[in-house]
Symmetry: C2
Subunit: 144 residues, 2 copies
DNA sequence: TCTCATTTCGGAATCATTCCAGTTTGTGCT
DNA sequence: AGCACAAACTGGAATGATTCCGAAATGAGA
């Protein structure tokens, strides 16, 4: 039961004492209908605007923030505002402390068992993000 | 030989036909001296300003961009400008296409072998980023 | 229905980053 | 050593996502 679903999200709002408003319902709809697109605030805003009479961009931001803080959805960027650089080009995991911002380079062993990383490094993982950037098969087929 | 080192970076600049300027040398110094801090543009700018008489922030940005495009350093953020959201809260890897921006959720098997991911998903990995967010041991010790 | 904390609004403010047009400067060549 | 020119630098304006803020609107329980 990991995928987002409208009724489930509404239940979670109730459980957490958050109010059910037309704006939130519209945002939930936009989120569910575009779940595969990993939508950004702008897309959500556009989609939600079609459903509810009035939604402001500020509300979309506030709601998305509320939802991700409540664990209803996952933000694909974290708080880091400034881009940072790493001189270590080898493959490793950046262990980023949520409190002090420290970034620890953790070199991955031949076989990686995500859950073990925490214990070995004395680091408590609350959120994980692993991104592989490259080219998807559809794009590889297209010229350019 | 993965860690950055001044002479090596200078050699790489020469090899790629890039010019050696006082600003670049100052930026390289700042990069090398702060390698453990995963410095951002602002820190680099401040540090580099101490070394070279004149360095502008624009130059720092341009240089950092040039360096990461040339593979001298690694940028810890990618081009994505807008924050995006994911309704799938389970642990998975986001395969992000550099060309079309598509994000494919890839659920990790019990044992993860990074290199295998590409083949299985038909995705060519050019850059990898794995981030585990949480709390480092030092912060865990401190109250709050 | 009444009440009030929560939510929404929209416009201003913020902040990292990019853009631009003009100036300076490495570097290869003579 | 001096020339020429593409590359690099500058700084101020522009951009664009996100946050902030004070005021107005509104769910939801009493």
């Amino acid at each position: 039961m990991r995928k987002i679903n409208k009724e489930n999200l509404i239940d979670q709002l109730k459980q957490k004492g958050l109010k059910i408003t037309p704006q939130r319902l519209a945002i939930i709809d936009a989120l569910v209908e575009n779940r595969h697109a990993h939508p950004g605030a702008t897309l959500i805003y556009n989609e939600a605007s079609k459903k509810a009479k009035r939604v402001s961009l500020s509300t979309v931001y506030a709601t998305l923030k509320e939802f991700s803080e409540s664990g209803l959805i996952k933000q694909l960027e974290f708080d880091r505002m400034e881009n940072r650089y790493d001189g270590d080009l080898s493959e490793h995991i950046n262990l980023i402390c949520k409190r002090c911002g420290t970034i620890i380079d953790y070199h991955i062993p031949a076989t990686l068992e995500p859950k073990d990383i925490a214990r070995k490094a004395g680091f408590v993982v609350t959120d994980t993000r692993m991104e592989f950037h490259g080219y998807c098969c559809d794009c590889l087929k297209r010229p350019g």
